[in-house]
Symmetry: D2
Subunit: 341 residues, 4 copies
């Protein structure tokens, strides 16, 4: 951490600052320039509050050198994290193809979709039971019953299931769920993240619409700091000024997250674009950029889906995308300890 002091800092305040920093077990290197004095801090600054330092009268600016995340940091954990999920895997060179409907609607629907996506090569089944909807008048998901149906589909097909939790009060219902998803709107629901840190379950955290990659890693850090190392990250589009697609899929998140962290990176082209015809090109792009997996919405009858129909593929269209992804995969970018090779 570097503290840039204002010109001619008041000596007493400077002394106080240095004493406080030393109390935080930090070593101070001071460089005096013509217009600024710079304090370089050496030691563990993870817990130092940057805003607190900025509030001081004698401080002009504070810049971090060390990242504020530790457990999720590639620098302190060089090897890629690999998460076993039943017969499937997140990270570690086994591509995760997660597919299924936006919402679980009925046993026939979820089991039917599960069978078709399995046949097309999916390695996990997704499906929403608890649905975060912008309108209180929209379908809110089958909730507990949806979880039961999803687990029935797991039983019938052997596919591990990924599904979203919306509130920590729902946690006990997720005992048999394989991967618990934290949605984009809950990426900074810190009470929920803390609680998930006390489970050992694989957690898939979706990036919030307006959240930086650093903030995404800080949310992973919340889970990992609680003792749960099984975290995967999901890029699903960010909110920008462009309205031609629902969000802007930020694929540079893949190489950036690979460099910053050792956690697996999944891409969701369905929610990112909100348009079924964009799913194939964006799925291929994410694969080529070296994502560890994809999460794709599939519905047996997109026109009658109760939610997010516009972004769902038919099982046939999904099979076509899955085959195209498999064809690109051998030529995709690879990472060695976070570096594209």
């Amino acid at each position: 951490m570097i503290i840039i002091l204002k010109k001619d800092p008041e000596p007493k305040q400077l002394e106080n600052l240095k004493a406080w920093l030393t109390g935080q077990k930090l070593t101070i290197h001071e460089s005096r320039g013509e217009s600024h004095t710079i304090l370089g801090l050496v030691g563990d600054t993870t817990a130092v509050d940057i805003d607190l330092l900025r509030a001081l009268d004698i401080v002009e600016d504070v810049k971090r050198v060390q990242e504020p995340y530790k457990n999720a940091n590639r620098k302190f954990h060089e090897e890629d994290t690999v998460i076993a999920v039943g017969p499937a895997q997140l990270g570690g060179g086994v591509f995760a193809l997660i597919a299924g409907p936006c919402s679980v609607e009925s046993e026939a629907q979820i089991c039917g979709v599960a069978r078709s996506v399995k046949q097309a090569g999916a390695t996990m089944l997704r499906g929403g039971a608890f649905k975060p909807r912008a309108s209180p008048y929209s379908f809110q998901g089958l909730r507990g019953e949806g979880l039961t149906l999803l687990l029935e589909a797991k039983k019938q097909t052997g596919l591990p299931v990924v599904t979203e939790i919306m509130d920590l009060s729902q946690l006990e219902l997720f005992a048999d769920v394989d991967v618990i998803q934290v949605g984009a709107r809950n990426m900074q629901n810190f009470e929920l993240l803390k609680e998930l840190g006390h489970t050992g379950k694989p957690i898939l955290i979706k990036r919030g619409l307006a959240n930086t990659l650093e903030e995404l890693l800080m949310s992973a850090e919340y889970v990992m700091a609680g003792g749960n190392p099984n975290v995967a990250l999901c890029e699903r589009g960010i909110r920008t000024f462009e309205t031609a697609a629902r969000n802007t899929l930020d694929l540079s998140a893949i190489p950036l997250l690979k460099r910053m962290s050792h956690l697996p990176v999944i891409v969701d082209p369905s929610h990112a674009t909100g348009i079924a015809s964009l799913v194939k090109p964006m799925a291929l792009a994410a694969t080529a950029a070296g994502a560890d997996g994809l999460m794709i919405e599939v519905h047996n009858d997109p026109s009658h889906a109760l939610s997010d129909g516009a972004q769902s593929l038919t099982p046939e269209a999904f099979a076509d995308v899955a085959a195209a992804v498999r064809a690109v995969l051998p030529f995709a970018c690879r990472y060695d300890h976070g570096k594209a090779v």
Copy 2:
């Protein structure tokens, strides 16, 4: 709602669509042009899922005419909502001056700040007990104990208190809190919003960093649809590409929300800018634009605040801002049924 069909829609699919729309109790007006056919829908489209329609093969685009919110809509509730909060008020021409520290730290601190802001003209006391922090290593608030101290400050000064809830499991602790704040990161925590709809308490909802005004009103709608009409809105800055201040305070939200809705609009210049020296100009700007109140961070010793010190004013600086706000107030923009006059 207007549905724009693709050129030469398949007749059978068009018939199905019309039947479905009629089943939703909507009347259809059809206009056939050279390159597009347009279906104008008349009736209550609040609950119609726009994405579902967009998913249909024969549909090119769907555009909303009617807003998707009802209870929060100025069109269906012409008179301004006024919320009594003990001796204070949100809306209705009585300016709300809400002040206090970011975090409650001790009895001496919160009661001391409460006394000074009351003397300077504050009408309510704010203070964080449960603190949403981006890092798990930052101070997380005194939590339950913080609420107790806040209520002690209320007892000593008579100021109603505003404080943030982070999870619905905390709700019972908020029984004696006057205004429950939903923070920006929880603006779309729909489970929490639904639960708050079953209380009768005043709820202050802060706009999320990447949320549109329509989405803010949809979150208000969640609370109101549950039966609680006592909702106020808070603009606290949105995330943009500009990094000179923490966020970009969007003051056009004031006249826009006044036109769209009848709910009171509060502005928080402290969190929006994150810089103490910007609080005064932005507080005056918000006042002049016709906000119903301000929420301002005040700390008795900003340099030692445990969180967000950079944006806190001293009690003296707050008294100066409060006096300046009172001076501008008689000349501020006024609204008559949502129109600036």
Copy 3:
């Protein structure tokens, strides 16, 4: 175009509006609903000023159905545009690999880079002579002399050259340039675009940092309306809140532009990310998504480049990227009349 009228429009004003619309040779379809009356306009609305209509007292909102661009519109020009550039091509299934240094610095430099990128498979040479730099104190390019050196490199290697024009006063110097590039900052320099419409030269227009795809196509329309159909589009990143890379590369622009327009789409991963190590994954992603080509910065000695060194590859690294791109190419997404197949 659809005009949504306010409730109970003043009859005289409505009559005036209808007369004006009829005068624009538009046919009006009227649908009266309970809360809104809707006028559907049939005919060519390309030149109708949407803001003018929105200004009318009786109008609540206006929504476009028809796109405001014609020449660039896929709907009016179904076949892909193919632009021959000497032995190379933009569009038409021949992948364009455009490579070279950010700035032309010397004959040895540009000719040396030209030879290496040609050997690695580049089909065109890029190099900046006129350089738009945010600071007046930064190197501004060799200007006229830079163009001369670039043309010398073309002579030595046979590679067609792509270089940026910054002002229409420079146009006569570009007589022997193969493709004139309009930079992101000049995307809406309409005087320049108009003038380029009077040349027959291939024009490569880069998307502005904050410009929508529709605006990019409107800029293409400026050139095409002047009589020059040889326009190609370049996605090079947009400005968002995320600062981990220089800009956010928006690869969904590829399928979206393919659907909206028949013009070739090139992607520049070097400027988009500003980080050399991101170029390979983003180049592969763009290729897989079906771009018509790539524009990549290459420097013989990145550490001593006078500008944009951080995003330049060495010739060796470029050869590696080019080979990886060629490997992905056979499996990339393809478009048939703008639809991903």
Copy 4:
């Protein structure tokens, strides 16, 4: 400037870097930490290319301490710049009220509007002769003839005129114009800015839709580095995800620019919002925040304006806004050497 080196930098490369820095007349202060070595550079780093340093293998990151602008920097020019414009003024405590139509349409129109805005208290007349329009099919302004009409209105009313230049080839036509405006889309048209630096004319630079305040000051720096100190800045809204108004007016730009620079700051609420009913609240807000002036669109018959009608006020509405602004002005935020007092 601070250079953060990677762990264990290659000694030969480090030596080269230090030699190069010393060659730039910079003094180096080195701090060695456990995980990073930091080089603090003392001296004038204005012209040092930050991207060039970032490109070096041994460098992890580079952070600026000193601003990259000098002439526009408050630190090197403590007193406010005041620009005399005939009988009016930009900066220096005399509020500039600039009003007029978006486009000059006819002598009757511009002279009529000029008389009414003068009567209502305007100190300068604005009007567009050269119009940057997103569509080639929209009205492009009366161009040279428009300038003639504008100067006629100046003659009749005595109001100095402000009008936009779109290309440096138009410069000679601007000889009698009082203030030359550089539009948002041309904020980084560096060839134009350089040329304007060689005139002595007052230049009003509008902030680009996606440009930071630092970039705005760099554009001012281009003009000032050429020898023209008469630069004023104009905030006119930035592009964000919010679409309820045309752009997001960023009023925190006022106190931030006051602190960063000594140049006058004008606010344009008309273009920022694009909605006539938002002009009054935003004009009052900008005034209260301490802007040096406002630029407001006024049309004698908004419904028939040929461009941007939706954001224009009638002369009566403008007179109301002007009176309201005058009422707020005595209570507005004031700045002393850039600090809000």
